[in-house]
Amino acid sequence: MMTASTVNRLPGKEIDWAALRADFPILDQKVNGHPLVYFDNAATSQKPRAVINALDHYYERDNANVHRGIHELSNRATAGFEGARARAAAFLNARAAEEIVFTRGTTEGINLVAAAWGNRHIKAGDVILLTEMEHHSNLVPWQLLAERTGAKLAFLPITGDIGQLDLNRVDEFLTRDVKLLAMVHISNSLGTINPVSELCDRARKLGITTLVDAAQSVGHRPLDVQEIGCDFLAFSGHKMCGPTGIGVLYGRGEVLERMPPYQGGGEMILSVEYQRSTWKQPPHRFEAGTPDIAGAIGLHAAMDYLDGIGRENIARHDMELGAHAYATLAGLQGIRLFGPHVGRAGIVSFLVKDIHAHDVVELANRRGIALRGGHHCTQPLMRKLGVESTSRASFYFYNTTDEIDGFAEVIRDIMKFFGR
């Protein structure tokens, strides 16, 4: 569903990023008397009218339950839902739509792998290798699996405040006992972009299964699961212009086929008797119950919208915003910055002198700026960095360098307010 507004800006053309803001109704408002500056995109992105319209259209014209229906509306809903699956496969360059499992989001995707794949393949003494910068969603499910099975967790270390993986130590950690390498593509706390293709390649040569948490990357740059070479990749729709409540787990066909179900119920069975059942082939084996049909259709519209702009263009703009914010904040006295100096994503975590992150976020809010302060669901990483929390500004393509400059002014005012 290409909207009229996106057709005009296919890749190759210079993009008027500020003009794209008109596609997002929510951005046109004042907060506390100031124009809204939305810098909390790592938590969730805003939604373009194309996505909101797709949801409206589905509920106003096509709503019915999917699969097994004979009537017209059910056919339309099924076509919309399965069309979204095919679109997601193309979006990730998966080999087949059967490699796309719809979930509630990244968290559920990872829990699905930990339960369905992990319970079958992980044994006592096995090692699950993660990194020190994982979001709780790519840590706690593995802790639960380790508790169930007696497996151990190990963590690829990061290098101080710069927050990059210490690639010199990868061999030391890729031992024979490692059965799974699960890692974040772009850190939601640091803005670090991890070399997932290289790491998956090294893991695969040792027979290690791989999972990539693409929550922060999938809507921000071109992403090709065959190029990355991972076995699993999970993401959420709502961080890439789609609705909340829908996400995707990509699983390599051969791996998904050997996995038992995750949850039991309708939609996932072939035949059911009182004592036992048989189940469908992937992906339906992993989708028990009525799915989030509208969410999948909204996600389809989001993928079309992003590709209308071009994910290469979005990635370039994202990195420009990240670099501009980093350089601007680095120019202020008393700011401690986290994450790489260069080659970073549009996520910048920082501390303003000894002012607590929640005080920074509270004051920024009074100027209409939406930041996030806290541990960003990465408590072990915060401890590793020796901080309790940070403030974070995270950008998307509808943000501008002017907004970042205004934000830097507000940070100066916050320092003055607290007399620091």
């Binding site: 506390n32 002012i355 607590h356 992150a357 929640h358 005080d359 509270e362 004051l363 009074r366 302060g373 806290g374 541990h375 408590q379 915060m382 309790e388 929390s389 005012d413 003055k416 307010f417 607290f418 007399g419």
Partner: protein, 151 residues
């Protein structure tokens, strides 16, 4: 500069945030308790020296936002010399004040926290030290968390 925030960050609060009173460890404390706000990462430890039923000395250490630090600081000034029953009554008044904005009875300088009720996300910051105080008085060994009960 941020005049519209003066209901939250009153001068007294800013002063106690920058210069917290009774901010020290107490080696010979009768009892102590830890308070933790997992949402913010705020951590504080409150120490008490009791003389029978009365608080003879009180101090705290820890880190947190301006509201939680100022709340702990003002708490130490407020409860020194008070009995358990008096402290319990003040805790009730503070809880009512930061959740509804209503000031019942004389709360003295603690009234500066009345504006907190307009900022629901900050209520837990203002009340954390009071929970730690209650835990210390009740001799609870477990650290108290703002997530463990409705406040």
């Amino acid at each position: 500069m941020f005049d519209d925030l003066s209901d939250l960050y009153q001068e007294v609060i800013l002063d106690h945030c920058k210069h917290p009173r009774n901010f020290r460890e107490m080696t010979a404390a009768t009892c102590s308790a830890q308070g933790h706000n997992p949402l913010c990462g705020d951590q504080l430890k409150l120490y008490l020296t009791l003389d029978g039923d009365r608080i003879r000395d009180v101090s705290f250490v820890g880190s947190g936002c301006c509201i939680s630090k100022a709340s702990a600081s003002l708490l130490t000034e407020c409860v020194k010399g008070k009995t358990r029953a008096e402290v319990g009554k003040t805790f009730d008044q503070v809880r009512e004040m930061v959740t509804t904005g209503k000031i019942e009875g004389d709360v003295g300088r603690l009234a500066v926290f009345a504006g907190v009720h307009k900022y629901p996300a900050r209520v837990k910051c203002a009340i954390l030290a009071w929970h730690a105080l209650a835990a210390a008085l009740n001799g609870q060994g477990q650290p108290v968390s703002t997530e463990s009960e409705d406040i």
